[in-house]
């Protein structure tokens, strides 16, 4: 084992001593110096979690969130080159290793926060405004056969536990762990129509439409699969600027 490998192993194991060959000035304790590196690493990863999941932290309280974060750090978590990606597995960790019967919606709240990060960092593409749809809306046959490419920043999730409403309440200055209205829609759409990420609650039929479009189905087929009237679904698609490209069938040319 090389000296650097020995140091990496010692950093990963708090019970481990100072690797042979590492020293510091007389009178100082190399173990205390090594602890500075352990602390810096832990802070870097913990700050990443704190910055990624502010609503989840608000719901849990700082002390519990920090305990949970430390437990997450202690596990076999991938440590990717881009620090922000380190936080990706935290919602699943909450669901599997930190279940909380008082807040069964907690992992979905965290998932929503991660979707917002994904949306923000998604590739650039136009978020089509209503004007881009207008020519097709005037030609229902072509519209039906149009393939709609969703914006790269478009994300969605289903959750019947009110996580979306809780996040919106937190965003508005409230507490995410306050009660949630069970009559609110169960769908959450995250989008990036401009430079800001937006969160909307939608009916599950809108999510079915997005599932169909993401699978490459033409618009009419994706709408039909929802078994719902198409007008409000189309309105969601257009109004929230969830599409980045419309690919209608070629126009038939007279022979």
């Amino acid at each position: 084992m090389s000296p650097l490998e020995a140091l990496a192993d010692a950093l990963a194991d708090p019970a481990s001593g100072v690797p042979p060959g590492l020293a510091c000035r007389p009178g100082a304790d190399p173990a205390a110096r090594l602890a500075i590196h352990r602390r810096t690493l832990a802070q870097g990863w913990q700050n990443c979690l704190t910055g990624s999941y502010p609503a989840t932290r608000a719901a849990m309280g700082d002390a519990e969130f920090d305990r949970c974060a430390r437990a997450f750090l202690a596990g076999p978590v991938p440590r990717p080159a881009l620090l922000r990606l380190f936080a990706a597995g935290f919602p699943d960790f909450l669901a599997t290793a930190w279940p909380d019967p008082r807040r069964p919606w907690l992992d979905n709240l965290a998932r929503l926060e991660w979707l917002r990060i994904e949306s923000f960092h998604a590739a650039d593409a136009p978020a089509l405004a209503a004007s881009a749809w207008r020519p097709l809306l005037a030609d229902p046959e072509r519209l039906a056969a149009t393939v709609v490419t969703l914006h790269p920043g478009c994300r969605w999730m289903r959750c019947g536990d009110g996580a979306g409403a809780r996040w919106l309440a937190w965003q508005a200055g409230g507490r995410p762990d306050a009660g949630s209205d069970p009559s609110l829609p169960v769908g959450i759409v995250v989008s990036r129509p401009g430079h800001a990420v937006r969160v909307d609650l939608v009916d599950s039929s809108t999510l079915s439409l997005l599932d169909g479009l993401a699978a490459g189905r033409p618009l009419a087929a994706a709408l039909a699969a929802t078994a719902m009237p198409p007008a409000p679904l189309l309105h969601d698609l257009v109004d929230k600027r969830l599409a980045s490209r419309l690919t209608p069938p070629p126009c038939e040319t007279p022979t």
């Binding site: 490998e5 590492l22 205390a32 650039d124």
Partner: protein, 302 residues
């Protein structure tokens, strides 16, 4: 935008000219994402902003558009924290490609990385870990810097580390090692004066001798920050480079001392922990400018 001041001689992998004389005597701040809005709203933004490269390895249009707006009024320094120049593994080609892409998207005045290692296997460690200053490490660091400079087509600045531990079995002391890297690769030096104060304080080194042994003509950028003061087992000061406060008096004094020897050098305030207000960080850059500009006449090439 301010044009890059150095270029590589064709095929040589070595810079054609000294760096410092061509660089504008500007001061600025490390730009964390928390201050991205504030700096765009600032009627007189700092002349220089430094970003951590890896924070911008993203296709995110909102982020890049914001940086475009920042760059329209300030020169840019791109500061890497994750290349692991001292690591035993080969450089991560994808990481280097991403860095090259960032430089194409946002052409900077300065590009820098650390004399440290940050990667072990598939794990990336968000800390700057110490190297043993022996011949194999020297060869490895130089090979990696050559590779980076070749890929980027420009000179890299190497930052001296803040250290808490020292590897036994070294062939060089730290400034000697840095000097040899600079000599072999033609890279420049990012002189972090907080790191110098931290390392010399923690390892009971003479900071004047340390400075004397560094290749000061290669200094093309200076970092300023204020270390945290903790206590060692014997009650002695243990300095920690945590970027958690403004520049301390000891670091300001070193800055004035170095400027008297180097002439004006682009300078960046590093204060990105502890949730500092933008105006407070901005004021530190103004304090650095007040110290930098009296030295200006010495920097005018004959």
């Amino acid at each position: 935008m301010v044009a890059a001041a150095s270029s590589l001689a064709a095929g040589s992998g070595r810079p054609r000219q000294a760096l410092a004389p061509g660089l504008p005597p500007v001061t600025g701040i490390g730009l964390g994402l928390r201050h991205l809005r504030a700096i765009q709203d600032d009627p007189e933004p700092p002349a220089l902003v430094e970003i951590h490269a890896e924070n911008w390895f993203t296709p995110s249009a909102p982020l890049h558009a914001a940086l475009d707006r920042v760059r329209a009024r300030s020169a840019l320094s791109i500061h890497g924290v994750g290349l692991s120049l001292g690591g035993e593994q080969p450089l991560d080609g994808a990481h280097l490609d991403a860095l090259a892409g960032l430089l194409r998207r946002h052409p900077p005045l300065l590009v820098s990385e650390h004399l440290a290692w940050t990667r072990h296997g598939h794990s990336h460690l968000p800390d700057l870990l110490p190297l043993r200053y022996d011949t194999p490490t020297l060869v490895r660091v130089c090979r990696h810097i050559d590779q980076v400079q070749e890929r980027l087509g420009r000179r890299l600045l190497l930052e001296n580390p803040a250290r808490y531990l020292t590897w036994r079995g070294a062939d060089h002391d730290e400034p000697g090692f840095i000097s040899e890297v600079v000599r072999r690769t033609g890279c420049g030096l990012l002189l972090d004066l907080c790191n110098l104060v931290v390392t010399c304080g923690n390892e009971a080194l003479d900071p004047d001798a340390y400075l004397d042994a560094l290749p000061l003509p290669a200094v093309a950028e200076i970092h300023l920050a204020g270390p945290a003061v903790e206590r060692d087992e014997d009650g002695g000061e243990l300095l920690v480079d945590d970027h958690g406060r403004g520049v301390t008096d000891a670091v300001w004094r070193r800055y004035e001392q170095v400027l008297a020897r180097t002439g004006p050098v682009p300078t960046v305030i590093e204060w990105d922990n502890g949730d500092p207000d933008y105006p407070a960080v901005r004021a530190q850059a103004a304090s650095a400018a007040a110290r930098l500009h009296p030295a200006l006449p010495r920097a005018v090439p004959a």
